[in-house]
């Protein structure tokens, strides 16, 4: 329990550091925000008024302090382009990206764990080489290319699935799932490659240990040894990798979201960056950082569940 509290307290300086970094990076970009947002047709007065309203005429530390003060009051500010509250935008998109990340993760796990196990158990056989080949392909193929091929095959040629769009689960569960299949598989296949290699090497290491030989020696079936004795120990590094994967997916689905026209979190950030909507960028990156920290915390907790020797 003390570990948990200590971990939670430790996240505060991390988040502060993230806010300072994001804030500085955005203000390091050359070019005037008012010029970008208002465009070539603005009067000089309009630009000055905008800079004043945003506090851009104040010093950077003062701007940062003002922003942080608002954030601590739960106010992430309003978008520069359309004046909607940033927190509302994030709330609207996070569940979408969450669902996509979860679905991609499930696809990745469903592919990675069985192939990883088979590959480890039948090391050096044809099936292992096949799995390795698949993993290398998965890692080397650009995600957008695979996604595009899948759209062409399953949406255009076969017409089984929609080529784009998003429907909320609460609105129409069937349509929601159909729309999620292609993006989740396109992302999941790619992400499974690393997990599969991790699963394989981790299980191989475990299977080489004395207690496994003992278990085999006392006459237990291979299947029992692998699943009951080996797998649980081998999963620890895989869980770590999974945590990183999920954290990465929550902010890094932007290409999938763009190709499949899904209103997710990644697209929000990227659009905001292009529009120089720094208020939205700051808020979204802060939430993104918070998510990464939380996922890591959960991974630590799960270690304890999987391996009781790791006490938290």
């Amino acid at each position: 329990m003390t570990f948990l509290i200590r971990r939670i307290i430790l996240t505060i300086p991390i988040l502060l550091l993230v806010t300072i970094m994001v804030f500085s990076l955005i203000h390091l970009i050359p070019g005037d925000v008012a010029t970008v947002v208002l465009g070539q047709e603005a009067t000089p007065q309009a630009k000055i008024a905008m800079r004043h309203r945003l506090g851009l005429d104040q010093s950077l530390p003062v701007q940062y302090a003002n922003w942080l003060g608002n954030v601590l009051h739960g106010n992430l500010g309003r978008s520069l382009t359309d004046e909607t509250p940033v927190s509302a935008e994030i709330q609207q998109r996070l569940p979408v990206t969450g669902e996509l990340a979860l679905a991609s993760f499930i696809v990745a796990i469903l592919i990675a764990i069985p192939t990883g196990i088979i590959s480890a158990v039948y090391r050096g056989r044809a099936v292992d080489y096949l799995a390795t080949l698949f993993a290398f392909l998965g890692m080397s193929v650009p995600g957008f290319w695979l996604a595009m091929l899948m759209i062409i095959l399953f949406a255009l040629k076969l017409g089984w699935l929609p080529s784009s769009g998003y429907v909320a689960f609460t609105h129409d569960p069937g349509a929601n799932l159909r729309a999620m299949v292609l993006p989740a598989v396109a992302t999941g296949v790619r992400e499974s490659a690393v997990l599969m290699r991790m699963m394989r090497s981790s299980l191989l290491e475990v299977l080489g240990q004395d207690y496994i030989r003992t278990a085999r020696g006392k006459g237990l079936a291979l299947r029992t040894v692998v699943f009951a004795h080996g797998l649980r120990n081998a999963l620890v590094p895989v869980i770590t990798q999974s945590g990183l994967l999920i954290a990465g997916l929550l902010g890094g689905l932007v290409i999938t979201e763009t190709l499949f026209s899904i209103p997710g979190f990644g697209r929000l950030i990227v659009t905001a960056i292009f529009e120089r909507d720094f208020i939205t960028v700051q808020g979204a990156v802060l939430v993104s950082a918070l998510l990464v920290v939380l996922v890591n915390l959960l991974v630590d907790i799960l270690y304890g569940v999987l391996d009781p020797r790791i006490r938290i």
Binding site: V36, D82, Q91, L94, G165, V167, F169, P263, L268, L298
Partner: protein, 512 residues
């Protein structure tokens, strides 16, 4: 079974990490999916997210695509680019060109039920005159607006201004509901715009889609042709293309490079027409070595415009030599692109007295085709012994550098307006806002000032001819081409009519 234990261990990971996290932070409002492309729904691609759906604060072409289907305007352009009345039934201009009397169509209502009358028009024009409005410069010559009857008003200008009616065919002529502006506030209105147009606003998910539905009380009978209109934002051209094929999109705005793929497909209709935009290179006349006129002329002579249009753009742009695209007054003979003349360019370099002239061209980063274009021009200039370095820069920085004249040469164009004045005045008159090249020529200043006060086309035309012959000599800007508007749409659609401003009047499109 052992596996069930494993599942029991792994499942919480999935559940906790995948669902609890996002759900705990954002449980509210999931976006509803937009209406699918069915018979009653027309789905149009936009290649960028519209920054603002308020004509007063709109900055982008994609804004105009949406707004033109939401709002009626005082005037509109027809397919030949001529100005015709829209909300305005009749207009008279005083002899001195300083007073316009407008008579509106009667009985039109905004979609919130309030009347669109002379008072509403005055409210809108006054709103556009506020310094905070991005329309302020367009309507800067309005002195006052007097409502003379329920449906008539007089607009007095401080000076005759020939482009005035043409400006009212765009955002400055859009009439929004005064009540909605008052209720929603200046900044709230853009998220729930209310006008009197063929469609009304339903819903928007930023960077994803905008939903509109038919205004059932629309005053023009029989319009709109399709019940629902959805704009979907697809920033990726390939993705938009496959979605046009799969039927998720009905109408796309592809980049010129996609034309080769689109051509020869029977399922689509492709439109590829010259627009009124123009592109080229600003030459900073105050920065060495481009403060040398001979060198600037050498550059102008060396550029192979037709080659650029063919090789880099596969003829989806049209070689040009003026800011006046097809249909804009002043277009024809001023705009004929000269053939590249390397010999003449070399002579001019020799005459300039500069040995090994070298300069840097700033271009917008992130666009492959802009890089190819710059590289093509670089090779043209090389033949004449001129070295051009290329420096990509983020678009915002590019604009800032332009305003500060902080560059030698800059590749930047203009989306174009139907009136010639709006394509030339702000770009070449001493000290005006888009005069990035720091050009100053008293004759050009007075000719352009005179041209915008001259109402008679033939006289105006002569003035622009004079200006162009000076600009061709001084070369503060190397005009290279006019962009094309490229559209592709499903053959199920009928009724699309191309208008030179490049705006899709979706309300006229029917879907089989």
């Amino acid at each position: 079974m052992r596996i069930s234990r494993l599942v029991g261990r792994v499942l919480p990971l999935l559940v906790i990490a995948g669902i609890a996290l996002p759900a705990s932070l954002g449980h509210a409002a999931s976006p509803r999916g937009p209406a699918k492309a069915s018979n009653g729904t027309l789905v149009i691609q936009l290649n960028a997210d519209p920054p603002s759906l308020d004509p007063s604060y709109s900055t982008a072409l994609v804004d105009r695509q949406v707004l033109n289907n939401l709002c009626d305007k005082l005037f509109d352009l027809n397919a030949r680019g001529k100005i015709v009345g829209d909300l305005v039934q009749k207009v008279t201009t005083s002899k001195n060109g300083k007073t316009y009397t407008l008579t509106l169509h009667k009985g039109i209502k905004f979609t919130d039920g309030t009347p669109l009358d002379a008072n509403a028009v005055k409210f809108n024009l006054d709103r556009y005159r506020q310094p905070a409005s991005l329309r302020a410069l367009e309507v800067q010559y309005i002195q006052n607006i007097t409502v003379t009857g329920k449906y008539t008003l007089k607009i007095a200008l401080t000076t005759p201004f020939a482009p005035f009616l043409s400006i009212l065919t765009d955002r400055s002529g859009m009439i929004v509901s005064p009540k909605a502006v008052q209720d929603e506030g200046e900044t709230g209105f853009r998220n729930n715009p209310v006008c009197s147009g063929p469609y009304k606003f339903v819903d928007r998910v930023k960077a994803d889609h905008i939903d509109l539905t038919a205004n059932t009380h629309y005053w023009k009978k029989g319009l709109p042709k399709t019940k629902n209109l959805v704009f979907k934002i697809f920033t990726d051209a390939n993705s938009a293309l496959v979605n046009l094929e799969s039927g998720e999109l009905d109408f796309i705005i592809p980049p010129p490079t996609a034309l080769a793929v689109l051509k020869g497909q029977k399922k689509f209709t492709v439109v590829n027409k010259s627009s009124i935009s123009y592109f080229g290179i600003y030459l900073n006349v105050t920065a060495a070595p481009l403060n040398n006129r001979d060198l600037r002329q050498a550059i102008d002579a060396a550029v192979n415009r037709k080659g650029l249009a063919r090789v880099v753009y596969q003829n989806t742009v049209r070689a040009a030599w003026s800011p006046f695209g097809a249909g804009v007054l002043g277009h024809d003979k001023n705009d004929i692109a000269p053939k590249p003349d390397v010999k003449k360019a070399k002579q001019l370099v020799a005459k300039s007295g500069i040995s090994n002239p070298t300069f840097t061209l700033k271009i917008a980063s992130g666009s492959t085709i802009a890089q190819q274009e710059a590289a093509f021009i670089q090779s043209n200039l090389k033949l004449a012994g001129i070295t051009m370095n290329i420096q990509p820069e983020d678009f915002g920085t590019l604009l800032s550098d332009g305003g500060k004249h902080n560059f030698q040469a800059m590749d930047l164009g203009w989306s174009g307006r139907p009136d010639p004045d709006q394509n030339i005045y702000d770009f070449f008159v001493t000290g005006s806002k888009n005069n990035y090249e720091a050009y100053s020529n008293a004759t050009v200043d007075s000719l352009l000032a005179k041209a915008r006060k001259t109402l008679k086309s033939s006289k105006r035309r002569a003035l622009y001819d004079q200006v162009m012959s000076i600009l061709h000599k001084d070369v503060p800007y190397v005009f290279t081409y006019h962009g094309n508007n490229v559209f592709a749409y499903s053959s199920k659609l009928t009724g699309f009519e191309y208008v030179p401003d490049g705006i899709i009047r979706a309300y006229r499109i029917s879907k089989k």
